[in-house]
């Protein structure tokens, strides 16, 4: 029997003030929950998805559903995020296109999709929306907040924005600010979308042709950054795709080409080009060290216990960036543990290397219980 889950929706009617100064409403949030909230309402864990993820983190949507949620290996009964113990919440990011209000949503004032009239938002704004959802769900304090990649950036911001609300944070394959190299890749992705004539200044929702070409190339670039040289050798080598000779034309010869094309194609069916622009921009802007003067200032008021995990072959969110956070937290006398997991999978490792991640996360959360009872 499959664990069937359901995506729910909550609409925040009152305006939320964005970092840009704009007040925005209404915002509908798509979310899923797994496990039960206890009587003290303090066993909740917020899971935050990465750039193109959604609220469907675990379980199946129906008996016929073939693929479980994106972190199903880690979330469930007796898994790292154990639904026998914890109440897990995961919601789709503000500006996304999987149920939460974003540029593809209908603007109630015009009855048309927002398109580029959707306000530019930041990671801090996305976290504000998450907090509203948790308040609505009656959660008094988060037992933990966790995310990988951009999900980790939001988890960092969550701890900074609500220092007393969060008891622990598990930050995986993430950074407190993107490197210029990572921003550059995001920029090329956005350029690819914007230069697609079908993008039409973001106004394409009622058109027959969508900026699929641009979006799929953006995704192909993304996938290059999620792998690493070794991962590409392991996955594809220089193997040809369903052939034993070069075709001497510009169709697909190599397996790696075919992989990227496939990833690009399936992506356009589930993702909105404008959402890609907005969300990558929020990632690029994220930089608490510059916002609060220093990383030390940013983390100073936090009371959470931290677990930080990086992967040695991840060059998009490299280990040195994780260590920067670790060192800052140690200087502040915060409780922090750090593990660099050996993996040949590049940035994608956080969605692949489950053995060690499970062990570490499970122990960390369990020992947090013990620590609590000592207090």
């Amino acid at each position: 029997m499959k664990n069937i889950v359901e995506t729910k929706f909550y609409t925040i009617e009152e305006p939320i003030k964005f970092e840009s100064g704009i007040e925005f409403s209404p915002i509908t949030v798509a979310y899923e929950t797994y496990g039960k909230l206890n009587d003290n309402k303090d066993n909740a864990i917020l899971i935050i998805h990465a750039l193109t993820g959604d609220a469907h983190a675990a379980g199946y949507k129906s008996e016929n559903d073939k693929k479980p949620g994106w972190w199903d290996e880690l979330i469930g009964e007796n898994k790292a995020f154990d639904t026998n113990k914890y109440f897990i919440v995961c919601s789709n990011i503000l500006g996304g296109c999987s149920g939460t209000t974003g540029p593809s949503s209908i603007n109630p004032n015009t009855d048309k999709p927002y398109g580029l009239s959707f306000p530019v938002f930041t990671v801090e704004d996305t976290v504000k929306v998450q907090k509203k959802l948790l308040d609505y769900l009656g959660i008094k304090q988060l037992y933990s907040v966790s995310g990988g990649s951009m999900g980790g950036m939001q988890a960092i911001q969550f701890v900074i924005s609500y220092p007393d609300y969060v008891k622990s944070a598990i930050l995986i394959a993430t950074t407190s600010r993107l490197s210029p190299q990572a921003i550059a890749f995001n920029a090329v992705g956005r350029n690819s979308i914007i230069s697609d004539p079908n993008w039409n200044n973001g106004d394409y929702y009622d058109k027959a042709q969508k900026p699929d070409r641009g979006l799929s190339i953006a995704r192909m670039i993304g996938h290059i950054t999620y792998l690493c040289e070794e991962a590409m050798y392991n996955k594809f080598g220089r193997e040809l795709q369903n052939k034993d000779h070069y075709d001497f034309n510009f169709d697909i010869d190599f397996q790696v080409e075919s992989y990227l094309q496939h990833q690009g194609q399936i992506f356009v069916d589930r993702f909105d080009a404008n959402s890609y622009l907005y969300i990558t921009k929020a990632m690029d802007y994220f930089d608490p060290a510059s916002k609060y003067g220093s990383l030390k200032n940013a983390f100073e008021k936090t009371s959470a216990k931290f677990l930080i995990i990086s992967f040695n072959s991840d060059w998009l969110f490299p280990s040195y960036q994780a260590k920067e956070i670790v060192n800052t937290l140690m200087q502040l006398n915060k409780d922090v543990s750090y593990c660099e997991i050996n993996s040949p999978c590049g940035h994608d490792a956080f969605l692949i290397e489950y053995d060690n991640q499970s062990k570490i996360i499970k122990s960390f959360l369990n020992n947090q219980i013990k620590g609590d009872s000592n207090e």
């Binding site: 677990l307 409780d335 922090v336 543990s337 750090y338 593990c339 060690n356 062990k359 122990s363």
Partner: protein
């Protein structure tokens, strides 16, 4: 840094010795903490707060399983992230001899810790000398089980070496203990015989 010696040996005599030297409720940094045995002992019996630093992923995971705060890192890179005298104790248990730059590691420990606890196997121990003298091979023992080509112990030293080192660098020795097969000798004096009979030594130093 791996705590190769302690794992291979399985003896925990040093652990209880060291834990006796640490005051209750102090702040401790355990360099090369291995599987976290000592740090856990200190946490449970002395209520210390602090971190372990360990280079091996496997050992880091063992520490996390014990509920310890541990940072994966290489102590040979120094302790730059720590400010001066920010820890009551910095511990280097059976790891000195496998550091790439032991003198740098000790200087960094003295900068960060109010007191430093260092333990190491004494390479002038009579069995080691005996072994070397008669076999003509690089000495091996329970304490030093490795071959010359795979040993992590690249900077082996003697008690005499350590005394000379502290002397030259104006490092204060606050406590010194050596252990033999049968005995624990506290506050010994350095002489030919202590250097011969000590199997392992533990020093508390400061600067």
């Amino acid at each position: 840094m791996n705590n190769h010696y302690a794992q291979s040996n399985g003896l925990h005599i040093n652990y209880s010795l060291i834990s006796q030297m640490v005051e209750d409720n102090s702040k401790v940094l355990d360099l090369g903490c291995g599987d976290g045995y000592l740090l856990k002992l200190l946490k449970d019996t002395k209520n210390v707060k602090g971190f372990g630093i360990e280079i091996s992923q496997k050992e880091v995971i063992s520490c996390i399983e014990k509920g310890l705060s541990v940072i994966q890192g290489d102590i040979d890179e120094g302790l730059r992230q720590f400010s001066d005298k920010s820890y009551d104790y910095v511990i280097l248990n059976q790891t000195l001899q496998s550091a790439k730059n032991p003198d740098y590691v000790i200087e960094e420990m003295l900068r960060v810790g109010k007191k430093c606890i260092i333990s190491f196997p004494n390479f002038a121990y009579w069995r080691v000398r005996f072994n070397f003298f008669f076999s003509g091979n690089m000495p091996k023992s329970k304490v030093l089980p490795f071959e010359w080509y795979n040993t992590p112990n690249i900077h082996l030293l003697t008690i005499k070496d350590f005394f000379e080192f502290t002397d030259k660098r104006n490092i204060k020795i606050l406590q010194k203990i050596y252990t033999t097969k049968a005995n624990i000798k506290k506050d010994f004096r350095y002489n030919f015989f202590s250097n011969l009979f000590a199997e392992e030594a533990v020093f508390v130093i400061s600067k």
